[in-house]
């Protein structure tokens, strides 16, 4: 089946989209026309520049609305989130660990590289958690080590080995110039170089991280905005159980 969809303004398939952008062109009729042409070139018919303003001698700003025939087929879209709809609550997770693994799960987390945005990893790991969802430290069956900010990948791996961790959690918030991609890739390469990749379940998280991206980069799972400890716990339990009894349990 195919379900072709287009943007919707006020009539099905009108293809209405709002855009704004800056052009390195002085403000004036020429700039305005350049902006219109640019929007047309993106595949919009009926490109309308509804606002133009000078930003400086050489730059000008535009707001435009356009209508396009470009469409996507939503039936071909398959998005795998790290977890399904069904999540363990904290108590369920602990029960599942006791029952299915029979030992505590050890988790090491950090905000790596030069990234110092700890609020995200803290939200997942710290006692008090986030938005009334407790963090992993509060899980009786989880031993959680949060190494904090700006931890080099090397050091994180060393620590994980030291405490014999089941899982490594990495947070990356700064994404400018794709620094997060570089940093996340480096961790996987280091693990592989040291023959440790299979030893841990490795997860990445952050505002701009998706499961898709993380998996592409060689992680077991990825977690973006709106993640709570429950998501991570659910994912880890499933993976760890799978490691013990592949495919089954």
């Amino acid at each position: 089946m195919t379900t072709i969809v287009r943007p919707y303004g006020d009539t099905l398939d009108d293809g209405a989209v709002q855009l704004s952008f800056t052009l390195p062109v002085p403000f004036g009729p020429r700039g305005r026309e350049a902006a219109r042409l640019f929007v047309e070139k993106l595949g919009f018919r009926h490109a309308e520049v509804v606002h133009a303003a000078p930003l400086s001698g050489d730059f000008s700003f535009y707001v435009a609305y356009g209508r396009t025939e470009v469409a996507v087929d939503v039936d071909t879209i398959h998005v795998e989130e790290a977890t399904g709809e069904k999540l363990y609550s904290m108590n369920e997770a602990c029960a599942a660990i006791r029952e299915k693994l029979g030992r505590k799960v050890v988790v090491v987390g950090a905000c790596t590289g030069f990234d110092a945005h700890t609020v995200g990893i803290d939200a997942i790991m710290n006692m008090k958690g986030y938005n009334h969802h407790y963090g992993l430290e509060r899980y009786s069956e989880v031993e959680a080590f949060n190494l904090g900010a700006q931890v080099p990948n090397e050091k994180l791996i060393d620590y994980a080995v030291k405490v014999n961790a089941d899982a490594i959690l990495v947070s990356q918030i700064v994404t400018q110039k794709d620094v997060h991609i570089r940093n996340l890739t480096e961790l996987i390469e280091l693990l592989e170089a040291r023959g440790l990749r299979e030893r841990f379940v490795v997860c990445a998280g952050g505002t701009r991280i998706s499961n898709k991206l993380a998996v592409e980069l060689g992680y077991d799972g990825g977690f973006g905005q709106g993640t709570y400890a429950e998501h991570v716990a659910t994912f880890l339990i499933d993976r760890l159980v799978d490691k013990v009894a592949p495919g089954g349990a």
């Binding site: 919707y8 303004g9 006020d10 009539t11 099905l12 209405a16 709002q18 704004s20 309308e48 520049v49 509804v50 606002h51 303003a53 707001v63 609305y65």
Partner: protein
């Protein structure tokens, strides 16, 4: 509520007294006249509906047959036709659409007509009362679930079925009121189109079927969300009473209904509008509908700083006309607007002042506060800021009905996302500074207090001038919105009739009784 602006009550009383003296002679004129649409509205209340093969509505077909005898009231001929043909209302509608001439049937015994009319009035009353009590019941059941002020959005796709999607989404997002804007120029049609419509420009035709479709769609959301959603449409134009009648039958909750808007902003003849608004307002009053007046239009046409007094003056006149039509204060959604040039230093203080002034002068009215429109530009981001300040003032001054500003006001009628962003803006701002108004006091010597006093003074002076000139001549001379509308020009004058001595309208009589007029 104690006055935060220290408004002089004596000047407010003076303005009300002037309004009453200005309106009185107009009211005399009104009571002596009827119009084609008053008659058609009466027919609609009596059940006339449908259209012929060319799309001419049944009420118009009837009126066209009667043009010479309209001064007797059209209902007589309709009731007579029912009696003579023995048809029920639906059957007669069909017959008339097929060409039956009601004026060709000999008149039956007056007592038979009276009896039949009483039946029709009773049937209509049951329906309207049913609507009214259903609304009251739902409002009571879901009390406290609406926002205060009520968040009001418009839909205007031109296609009733798209409107439904948009309205539903808005209602789910928290809109309390949905208004279906009419297509450009419907207000100049001297008939109300029939059936569901999908082709309009800048709005969707107001038809009874469209009203029904939207009411049903919103009622679904009402039950699902557990919150009443008010439905609004526009009475204004050449068919004020008819649309009011349709609104009463289909449970609309609010209607745009201004005593002078059609004259000034649609070039409708003043006699015609004055007569029409009275009848339409009586219907609104009876149906428990909240009217929305159109003072905002003064400010989109003229300067909002200079002409603020025209708004207040118009509010006093609209209030007076409303009382005369039996509306209660809680039904008077008197209009005003946030329309000052945003580049004015301390313009916000003046807006705040005026909104609070209106609040204090009309403490019981659910004031309808209109968003920035004239100074909205294609800069949607600045537009969002303008709307935030508007939301702020509205909450701070306790407005009743808050029409949401759209970031795309200068561009197109709202997209679904525009409305969503508007609701989000309003809900955030109004919740975040909810009780600010209750905590602050204003210095006596400041702009806020002084501006309100000055506008009231100008208003009183303006009303004095109108009183001297007479309202009709004042309009003719262009005292309102710089627009001159001579008495005998404008659309729809040919639809005016002086009532004959034998004028018979049992619905009008019924309304007078019910409203205690």
């Amino acid at each position: 509520m104690e006055s935060r602006l220290h408004m002089p009550q004596e000047r407010i009383d003076r303005a009300r007294e002037l309004a009453s003296r200005i309106v009185a002679p107009v009211q005399e004129f009104i009571d002596a006249h009827t119009t084609v649409t008053v008659e058609r509205a009466t027919l609609r209340l009596a059940g006339a509906d449908g259209a012929d093969a060319d799309g001419i509505p049944v009420p118009n077909l009837v009126i066209d047959q009667l043009s010479g005898r309209l001064d007797e009231g059209a209902l007589k001929f309709w009731v007579n036709a029912l009696v003579r043909t023995g048809e029920d209302v639906a059957g007669l509608n069909r017959k008339v659409a097929e060409g039956l001439r009601v004026d060709a049937l000999p008149l039956a015994d007056p007592a038979a007509l009276e009896a039949k009319a009483a039946e029709l009035v009773a049937a209509c009353t049951r329906r309207v009362r049913g609507n009214r009590s259903l609304r009251e019941e739902r409002l009571a059941r879901y009390a406290g679930k609406n926002h205060s002020p009520l968040l009001y959005v418009i839909v205007a796709t031109g296609n009733i079925h798209e409107d439904v999607k948009q309205a539903r989404a808005a209602a789910e997002q928290g809109a309390d009121v949905v208004a279906v804007i009419r297509t450009t120029a419907q207000s100049l049609l001297d008939y109300v189109p029939y059936g569901a419509t999908t082709e309009g420009f800048g709005g969707t035709y107001a038809t009874q079927e469209n009203f029904r479709i939207m009411r049903a769609a919103l009622d679904e959301v009402v039950e699902r969300e557990g919150r009443y959603v008010y439905l609004t449409n526009y009475a204004s134009g050449l068919c004020m009473p008819e649309i009011a009648a349709m609104g009463a039958l289909e449970r609309l909750d609010m209607m745009l209904n201004d005593s002078m808007y059609g004259i000034l902003f649609r070039d409708i003849n003043m006699y015609r509008t004055f007569v029409d608004q009275k009848f339409s307002r009586m219907i609104n009053a009876w149906a428990g509908v909240i009217i929305n007046t159109g003072e905002d239009n003064y400010l989109t046409t003229s300067d909002a700083v200079e002409k603020a007094y025209t708004v207040l003056a118009s509010q006093f006149l609209n209030e007076r006309f409303a009382f005369a039509a039996g509306l209660e204060p809680w039904q008077m959604g008197l209009g005003h607007a946030f329309e000052m040039d945003p580049t004015i230093r301390n313009g916000f203080l003046m807006e705040l002042s005026q909104a609070l002034m209106a609040r204090e002068i009309f403490p019981e009215a659910p004031l309808k506060y209109m968003p920035p429109t004239k100074f909205m530009t294609g800069d949607i981001f600045r537009g969002v800021v303008q709307n935030s300040l508007f939301n702020f003032v509205s909450q701070m001054t306790g407005q009743g009905i808050h029409l949401l500003g759209m970031l795309t006001e200068a561009i197109h009628t709202p997209f679904m996302q525009d409305r969503f962003l508007a609701l989000e803006n309003a809900k955030y701002v109004m919740n975040n500074m909810a009780d600010l108004g209750a905590e602050v006091e204003f210095r006596m010597d400041g702009t806020i207090v002084k501006r309100a006093h000055a506008v009231l003074e100008e208003t009183v002076a303006f009303l004095e001038r109108i009183e001297t000139t007479g309202l009709m001549d004042a309009i003719a001379e262009g005292l309102f919105a710089d627009i001159r509308r001579p008495r005998d020009l404008g659309k729809g004058l040919d639809g005016l009739r002086k009532k004959s001595d034998g004028y018979w309208n049992p619905f009008e009589e019924h309304l007078h009784r019910e409203l205690g007029l």
